[in-house]
């Protein structure tokens, strides 16, 4: 490999540029400093602060934000979860633990349901907020809310049990930020929308279902 040919090869891929020539003004430093000061002074006078006064002015959370979980209720106020373990299986962080139990068929309140979670615990500190539990749920019982500032004084405080998750639902359902995205009550398929429209089945040959 000769020097010239490889040199030509190089210039094709990499262009070698000379550093810009320094003139008298740059070598004096002072005009450049004055220019810099003019820029900063301009920002001082005309610049509008970009600051959000956070605790007073809260940021606008997009509707698909993935915050603290909640457990939805059905039309009778019962926990909507059917204890199918799909979310626990889907969870990549292993932060969901469910204890299922069969319903008492003699109880009129639970006559139409077979199974419900006796315990439903999410470790909010372990969760990575990926939203895969929400995607996995066949009855839209678990949802991620727009609460982004959950805090606690101890680790135990941040392990949310069923009652806590249901209370998150009660808190957020009327806040306007986290409306119930699916038809209340009915334990239908996950794409059971509030306005009653049922998405069309996927076209033959696969593909994404249309909304």
């Amino acid at each position: 490999m000769s020097e010239t040919t490889s040199g030509k090869k190089k210039t094709k891929t990499i262009q070698w540029a000379q550093p810009p020539r320094i003139g008298l003004a740059e070598a004096l430093y002072l005009p450049a400093i004055a220019e810099g000061i003019a820029t900063t002074v301009k920002h001082m006078i005309r610049g509008k602060p970009m600051t959000r006064q956070y605790p007073e002015v809260e940021p606008e959370i997009p509707p698909n934000y993935r915050g603290v979980h909640r457990l939805n209720r059905d039309d009778k106020g019962r926990v909507k979860c059917v204890a199918c373990f799909l979310c626990q299986t889907a969870c990549p962080a292993n932060c969901i633990s469910i204890e299922a139990t069969a319903t008492d068929k003699n109880d009129p309140q639970w006559a139409d349901r077979d199974k419900y979670p006796k315990a439903f615990v999410i470790d909010e500190l372990r969760c990575i907020y990926c939203g895969m539990c929400e995607e996995a749920c066949p009855v839209d019982a678990i949802e991620l809310t727009s609460i982004y500032d959950a805090t606690g004084l101890s680790r135990e405080e941040m392990i949310f049990d069923k009652e806590k998750l249901l209370s998150v639902y009660d808190e957020t359902i009327h806040s306007g930020k986290d409306p119930d995205r699916t038809r209340r009550g009915t334990l239908g398929p996950a794409s059971d929308w509030v306005d009653g429209t049922v998405p069309s089945p996927p076209p033959p040959g696969g593909g994404l279902p249309g909304r």
């Binding site: 020097e3 010239t4 490889s6 040199g7 190089k10 210039t11 990499i14 262009q15 070698w16 540029a17 000379q18 550093p19 020539r21 320094i22 003139g23 008298l24 740059e26 070598a27 004096l28 430093y29 002072l30 400093i33 810099g36 000061i37 820029t39 900063t40 002074v41 920002h43 001082m44 610049g47 509008k48 602060p49 970009m50 600051t51 006064q53």
Partner: protein, 399 residues
């Protein structure tokens, strides 16, 4: 042995003013600096404590006093403890010969706005003491027993040694022509109009002095001893709480001192057109002069803060090249020109065009040498895995 209270009380009063005002100025300068930086960077700045955040400085002060005193186990304890004190001591000592208000050139009794009025080697004393504050930094960095602290301290040492020379050279012209090292006389020689300010016939010296003094304070274009990105915190990495504050108080005291010096030596001190006559002839004139001086100092302090948020940090070789390659030769030239003016009895106004011409010629020469640097084509380096030539940049366009 009796104490002459008539001679003692003005000094004690001036010391009390300095000791009382300097920490407050230091605290509030951090606040002003944060606010100023916020405005430059399109932010709001501290606004939580008090109206407009004005009590932030007080809150910071309380917090820093109540903080835990952490002394790492690996430090050289005596020097570690004494280093911040040396820094602040030198900063406060050097402000002793700086008039912080209008002071007449003739010695007089009663209160004068100066701790040590009538010191005939005032400027010399100031230069000597203020450069001693390098000891605070060097001892602090060494005693911390931390390599980053030591790096910061060594850089500071090199920087102090380099920039002491242009700092001294820059004031020589004024001192020679005025014929005094006494601060009051240096200011009195610049009265009363704008035209007699030193900056007009010593513009190069003013620039050199300001730049060198900025380097002496370790402030941003020259803050290599404490640059956060390279050295964690430089010489004060291992310091916390009140000892850290002492270092910062020393730095801000230095900033105030060099602002005063710049104004007193080059911008006429308390002189302003219309203010004629003796300094303390009337209370109104005295007060107005005080206001003029403080306003000028505030402008210089503002310029220093503005420069901090405008200019990026020098690289160390650039820092050294600036001192040894440009500022010292220019300072020597300025000194020689002033000497020639005195020797041959020329008009001192010849110094202004001469020094500006020298600066332009130096810049011209530097631009020429930079432009004529040999540019090695990449073909001569083909095959080398790593290119070390500093002229090469991988840039998209501009062949």
């Amino acid at each position: 042995m009796s104490i002459d209270w008539n001679r003692l009380w003005p000094t004690l009063a001036a010391i009390a003013i300095i000791l009382g005002v300097v920490p407050i100025i230091g605290l509030y300068m951090t606040f002003i600096e944060r606010k100023w930086a916020a405005w430059i960077q399109d932010r709001v700045g501290p606004n939580r404590v008090g109206p407009l955040g004005l009590l932030q400085a007080v809150a910071d002060g309380i917090k820093i006093f109540l903080k835990e005193q952490v002394i790492p186990s690996h430090v050289h304890r005596p020097l570690y403890l004494i280093a911040p004190t040396i820094g602040l001591l030198c900063a406060l000592l050097s402000i002793a010969v700086v008039p912080f208000g209008p002071v007449g050139p003739e010695p007089k009794g009663g209160f004068r706005a100066m701790v040590a009025p009538g010191v005939d080697i005032g400027l010399l004393f100031l230069m000597a003491i203020s450069s001693l504050s390098a000891y605070g930094i060097i001892l602090g960095g060494w005693a911390s027993n931390n390599k980053y602290s030591l790096y910061g301290a060594l850089r500071s040492c090199a920087q102090f040694i380099s920039y002491e020379i242009p700092l001294g050279l820059s004031i020589l012209g004024i001192v020679m022509v005025t014929g005094s090292l006494n601060m009051e006389k240096l200011v009195a020689a610049q009265g009363p109009g704008i035209a007699s300010w030193n900056v007009w016939w010593q513009p190069l010296a003013a620039i050199l002095f300001f730049v060198a003094a900025l380097a002496e304070t370790n402030r941003l274009p020259f803050d290599l001893p404490e640059c956060e990105q390279e050295l964690v915190g430089g010489f004060h990495t291992e310091y916390s709480g009140i000892k850290f504050v002492l270092f910062f108080l020393a730095e801000y005291t230095h900033v105030v001192t060099i602002s005063f010096l710049t104004v007193l030596l080059f911008f006429g001190g308390w002189h302003f057109p219309g203010l004629t006559g003796a300094v303390d002839a009337t209370w109104l004139g005295y007060g107005l002069r005080w206001l003029v001086l403080l306003a000028k100092v505030a402008v210089v302090v503002g310029l220093i803060i503005q420069l901090r948020w405008t200019l990026p940090r020098f690289r160390f070789d650039q820092l050294m090249a600036l001192a040894w390659g440009s500022m010292i030769p220019l300072g020597i030239f300025n000194f020689l020109a002033a000497a020639a003016v005195i020797t041959f009895g020329w008009n001192r106004w010849w110094l202004a065009p001469l020094s500006l011409l020298a600066m332009t010629l130096a810049a011209f020469w530097k631009a020429r040498t930079l432009a004529n640097r040999p540019f090695r084509r990449p073909s001569s380096l083909v095959g080398a895995a790593t290119h070390s030539s500093r002229h090469q940049q991988v840039v998209g366009s501009k062949s």
